[in-house]
């Protein structure tokens, strides 16, 4: 091999988190037949260690930021932020899976290997500065998540969820790929910085209609992945049918990674044609918030309610994207961090309460939780208050920064409608609180088992994070501000 073809050590270092995750995922699968049935928990321990190592590697890689492998990857603050975020979500999801896998007698190495592979995909997505890399990362993450959604093969709802997710997800991927193909045809490159250069050059800029078609196609594909309206139809069924720890994982990790791709593509490559795509994002943001919040009002199943709430929260992040500014990008980053924590925490509580076979999922099954398990109830309260956006929680500053960014970009109507939406949302979150504290303990609450160690960790860590973001938001926000210009 000629010397100039060998990657430099700095480049390998920038790719180290993905290497660690892929190697450890393969290692778990090799280990699986050797220890199966003897000590099933070891896979969880190994994958948590792997994710911690990958977080360390991500932070270490940021000490020497820059592009790698002929511009395929761009290790900048933005990539590091999202790498750490998705890996953190992965750790919390595995922590909340221990009890669930034990209960369903489904503790295999494949579960953890798939989570690690999914994280490889997400880390590639958030780091990639090139459409082919983004596409491959997105597919790795998505396919692993489709399988995880149907992980309990004997469960009818899980099968339905996996099939729906797979079919609609493949369809959305095709849209994205069409967009990529057109962009390559008119600009001759798939590198985001190079696309930006071609599109911003007024003398060589391609015809507006064709650029518009490409941007619209990519918007459809990405809006599906972040469950933004009108491409959100799959989310409630999939979130409801998938095992709850998997729901916790896929409603936070892959979603954050997809938003990272959304922000990077639209704020670097397509920033110069921003006036064209802003109305699309505007409409999608408003629809997501409205459909999500109003549909959540009438749900009795807690997982469906949280699914619609997650659609609404995708709408808030889309508001930040519609602002088309660096402040908007930073606000979206902050919001996604706050959202990941409260969402994983809330779903971990649901995983704790639902019991074997996940039968106890109705809102009334939370009756009297405040008396029976004050700690669990208190932690869920924190997450719900953060969802509403009460001060002292991360959710408050998340919404505050997003609407501030929207106002600075003169999106007055979107801000007003968004704030009205958050008021509507308070109703259904408070309904859970009322059931939890004001109702007599029911059959379900009495049967609930004590919190296991893994689940307590999966609840307490995001609760602490929610408070830290709510009381000291400036540290994270400053980092987000600094990273919002990307490495372009």
């Amino acid at each position: 091999m000629p010397a100039n073809m060998a990657p430099s050590s700095a480049e390998i270092l920038r790719f180290l988190p993905e290497i660690i995750l892929a190697v450890m995922g393969t290692f778990i699968m090799v280990l699986d037949p050797l220890v199966r049935g003897k000590s099933p928990k070891i896979f969880g321990h190994i994958s948590i260690l792997a994710m911690l190592a990958a977080i360390g590697a991500s932070i270490f890689a940021y000490t020497n930021p820059g592009p790698a492998f002929s511009g395929m990857l761009m290790v900048d603050g933005f990539a590091t932020f999202f790498r750490v975020l998705v890996l953190g979500v992965g750790i919390l999801a595995v922590l909340s899976s221990y009890r669930f896998l034990d209960r369903e007698r489904a503790d295999t190495g494949e579960y953890h290997a798939l989570i690690l592979f999914s994280l490889v995909g997400q880390c590639v997505m958030v780091t990639a500065n090139e459409l082919i890399m983004i596409f491959i990362g997105l597919e790795i993450s998505s396919i692993a998540t489709y399988v995880l959604a149907g992980y309990l093969r004997d469960d009818k709802r899980a099968n339905e969820a996996a099939l729906k997710y797979f079919l609609l997800g493949s369809f959305a991927t095709a849209f994205l790929l069409y967009g990529v193909a057109i962009i390559y045809g008119i600009t001759g490159t798939t590198n985001l910085s190079a696309i930006r250069a071609v599109l911003s050059n007024t003398t060589t800029a391609p015809a507006g209609a064709v650029v518009g078609a490409a941007v619209a196609l990519m918007f459809v594909g990405l809006a599906f992945k972040v469950s933004g309206a009108p491409f959100q139809i799959w989310a409630p069924d999939v979130y409801q049918g998938a095992p709850t720890p998997v729901t916790a994982f896929m409603s936070a990790g892959p979603k954050a990674a997809a938003f990272a791709v959304f922000l990077r593509i639209f704020m670097t490559a397509f920033e110069t044609v921003g006036t064209g795509w802003e109305p699309l994002v505007w409409v999608s943001a408003l629809l997501s918030m409205t459909i999500g919040n109003f549909a959540a009002l009438v749900q009795q199943n807690i997982k469906r309610m949280l699914a619609y709430s997650s659609i609404a929260h995708a709408g808030y992040v889309l508001v930040a994207l519609a602002a088309r500014s660096e402040i908007g990008t930073a606000a979206a980053m902050f919001y996604l961090a706050a959202y990941a924590m409260m969402n994983v925490g809330a779903f971990a509580v649901v995983a704790h309460l639902s019991g074997k076979g996940e039968r106890r999922l109705s809102l009334n099954d939370f009756a009297g939780l405040g008396v029976k398990q004050p700690l669990t109830a208190a932690l869920l309260t924190i997450f719900l208050l953060s969802f509403i956006g009460v001060p002292l929680t991360g959710g408050f500053f998340g919404k505050f920064y997003i609407f501030k960014a929207a106002l600075q970009s003169n999106l007055v109507w979107l801000t007003v409608l968004g704030l009205l939406n958050s008021a509507v949302a308070a109703y259904y979150y408070l309904r859970i609180l009322v059931v939890m504290y004001m109702h007599e303990p029911g059959e379900a609450t009495l049967a609930v088992e004590p919190l296991s160690f893994g689940l307590s960790a999966a609840l307490i860590l995001p609760a602490i994070g929610t408070f830290v973001l709510g009381i000291f938001p400036s540290a994270l926000l400053q980092f987000a501000d600094k990273s919002s210009i990307f490495g372009r």
Partner: protein, 168 residues
Amino acid sequence: MLDVFFFYAFAALVLGGALLTVTLRNTVHCAISLIASLSGVAGIFLLQKAEFLFAVQIIVYVGGVMVLFLFVIMLVNLDTAARDRQFNRQWIAAVACVLAIGAEGVYFVRSGSGAWTFAAPSEFALSAGNTEDIARMLFSEYLVPFEIASVLLLVAVVGSVLMARREA
């Protein structure tokens, strides 16, 4: 002149094959029509001096994917499908889509080549025998996507085994 003749011949093969694929009743016949359609695409690739894509199209699609299709058709009982109604009630939506795409096509054809501004092709894109250049690109600039795609295949294999395996 010969180019034009071959283009229309291959295009007819592509469209005719696709039409037969969706209209024929016997699934094996459908699969064979699809082979014809995919071979037509390979021919068009060759006319565009994309020998590599031509070979890949024949090996992967006509050779690999289609054999897989035929295996599935043979292993899965499809007799009931042959008796089912061929066209379901979504045909209104389908006609709407076809009309919309047709209108789009007419617009672009009428507005001429100016409607699409393509990027200038790279220096070896249109030269014959560019397979070596593709290999060079694939193993230098695009090495990482090429390698990371193996993780994608690994995930797909693990996933399909996990889904297909029955409880012991």
